[in-house]
Amino acid sequence: MQAALTGFIQLLRSHDLRVSPAETLDAMAVASALGYADRGRLRDGLALSLAKSAREEAILLRCFDQYFGRELVGEKPAAADPAADPATTGQEAPASADEDARLLAEGAAEFAALAEALQTPLLQQLLADDRTELSLSLGQAGAATGLGNIRMFTQKGQYTRRMLDALGEETLRRAVVELEQAGSPLLELLKGYRDRLRDEVRGYVEQQYLLNAEGHNRQFMDDILSRTRLNQLEQRYMDEVRELVRKMARKLAARHSRKPKVHKRGQLDMGRTLRRGIAHDGVMFHTHWRKVRRDKPQILALCDVSGSVAAYAKFLLLFLYSLQDVLPRVRSFAFSSHLGEISELFRDYPVEKAIELANWRYGGATDYGRSLEDFAELALGDINSSTTVIILGDARNNGGDPKLEIMQGIYQRARRVLWLNPESRRAWGSGDSDMLRYQSACHVAAECNNLQQLERIIDQLLRQNH
């Protein structure tokens, strides 16, 4: 039973639940405290100890039903009977099974291959309709052929064949061929058993595919999505991408919130300690230590929401606002023809809705000069040495005045200025792009057009804030 439990945990891991070795031990302890007899209880218990949020619990329960639906053999698997097709196997009630066995045994005298097939445990199990033995053999054959490694649905046929070979279906096949050549009336009967076996194996492979491949396929998909250019993502993947962004954000938040705060306990400040002691008749009760104090970082994000960049802005904002725990002070501004603060939209609406509203409010022909002027008026006074300014835009100014002096002003005051440009570096400065000029007033100018790059940049950002 322990093997089943570790198998289950393996499955959970492939479905994105992080289960540490210590938690595996917890699960074992839970299982031994509750016993394996009551399925529902074990289900509750494992959910309690392994899942860490309501979302994870739902995944876990689904996996549990999938996995232990097969594993608890004693319960007679209900769904594992895909061979219910009456045309081939309908007559296989236990009573007629004995009859079949007798008929086949009679035929064995005549046909050598049939006699051989009857000797194999496989046909015996089929004849006796011994589900427990059969599912055990299936499990063994599955382990022997490495069925757990199945990843693609195209592999199903191949694995089914391998499973059949491992089960020793060959003798059965030969017996069928022999009967066919002789035109024996037993042919249909034996064929029925062979088809039944094949269905059984196919069903098992299907189930294993669902168990093992689903999680991996999702990882595979995530991998592809995170490398696709954001403005080329198809609409139907949007939900998945949003989920992916949240996942990445959670990961970053977890990584950076774990870091201990730099709150150094410095040297003893003798002067202050003595002064404080005066109140206590010169007894120094309260010691005073020099501390290194770090302000929480403030982030100002300026996003170009004109048509060409809007898709990227959406994801940057989604990212920043998913990081509220580690970056509590994000102010966001949207601009195109002019600029305005959109922070309050994020307070009042869910992120997606807020982005939509911002698009609608500030969209139009891009004017970087005017937008920078607006920004300077709104927020330049708030920029200080703990402020990071992130600008997302393609710097295509439609030939207008870039107002570089404002950028330089921001550059001098802020702790860091980051410019994220969705265009590739080669296109910077071409045509009406003012990127090369703006670049001179940025600490970092980076190309950013897929989720991986975005994640990397924000990771760096967080790291330097500590």
């Binding site: 509750l34 529902g40 209880r41 899942a51 007894v283």
Partner: protein, 314 residues
């Protein structure tokens, strides 16, 4: 806590029965969580919408076991001086004043500063001993002889730093006090942490806990709860009001009515001698269930339909 001391917790069924006798009707899952927490000596992190009985669970446990309930309400800025322990500064100060006079005798005959300091060193740090220690909830829970129920309420309201402070206590049931050493609980307390999910709890903390999510109860369970808490109410009315509350929860509300609101409502209906739900009655008592003006307006607009759904005369 050991099994032989608390036969009430010996099996899941007994826990369910014990809770029921105390008027706390729970699902098997909750009972399983309590059972496992006790068997594996692990804290339980209870999450769920407000008002589903998270805090009540801890209270009922303490009643069931007749051990003290020690409660720590978390808030932003909570630190170890308020949660764990503090030195009794006043007492320390008083004692130094008293002992100052003794200082002369002590140092009598000492030659030079070096020798005086040498003599003073021979005394231990008496001011930082257990006599001067003021235990706060967490330390107090460790010191109970018969064990205790420790309720750390709304842990999501506290800061991240405070969570790290909890880690040592929750995994080993011990507290490290730099001046004294490690204080370990003889009888480990049973710990419940509650969270309303206003922020994510760190993985390290979650890993040490059993994670129990209490959702709104099913109709059947909620009826049992109402029956046990408001036994005088008529069966048909009870059925109607629970069905009505359930249909309210389906609406897009700022704050969906929780069990505590259902119970309040049932009590108010009882006071009004109502035998059946009707539109006027519901309209006049809706403010017991819903706490926001918008929600009330929202519910009132579809009131007739909701009532029809709840199977009343309308």
């Amino acid at each position: 806590m050991h099994t032989q001391d608390f036969p009430q917790l010996a099996s899941i069924e007994r826990i369910e029965q014990g809770f029921e006798a105390l008027g706390y009707i729970c699902s098997t899952k909750i009972a399983t969580a309590v059972f496992l927490a006790f068997q594996l000596r692990k804290p339980v992190l209870v999450e769920g919408p407000p008002g589903v009985g998270k805090t009540e669970l801890a209270k009922t446990c303490s009643e069931l076991l007749s051990v003290p309930l020690i409660r720590l309400q978390c808030y932003e800025g909570l630190d170890e001086a308020k949660a764990l322990y503090e030195w009794k500064y006043g007492k320390q100060l008083l004692y130094t004043q008293v002992l100052k006079e003794k200082l002369g005798d002590l140092l009598h005959g000492a030659k030079g500063l070096a020798e005086s300091v040498e003599r003073l060193h021979q005394f231990g740090d008496i001011f930082y001993s257990e006599d001067f220690l003021e235990p706060r909830p967490l330390l107090k829970a460790m010191q109970q002889e018969r064990g205790a129920i420790l309720l750390i309420d709304e842990v999501d309201k506290s800061d991240y730093e405070f969570e790290s402070l909890l880690l040592e206590i929750l995994s080993d049931y011990q507290v490290s006090i730099p001046e004294i050493g490690t204080v370990k609980a003889d009888v480990s307390p049973m710990v419940f942490l509650t969270s309303n999910n206003s922020r994510d709890i760190s993985d390290a903390l979650k890993r040490r806990c059993l994670h129990l999510y209490i959702p709104f109860p099913s109709v059947e369970l909620e009826e049992r709860i109402v029956r046990s808490r408001v036994p005088d109410i008529d069966a048909t009315l009870r059925h109607q009001l629970v069905a009505f509350v359930h249909s309210l929860r389906e609406l897009d509300l700022k704050k969906a009515p929780a069990i505590s609101e259902t119970l309040d409502w049932a009590r108010s209906l009882l006071l009004l001698h109502a035998s059946e739900l009707d539109t006027a009655l519901v309209r006049s008592t809706l403010n017991v269930l819903l706490k926001f003006e918008d929600d009330i307006n929202n519910a009132e607009s579809g009131l007739d339909e909701l009532l029809r759904g709840a199977g009343s005369a309308g």
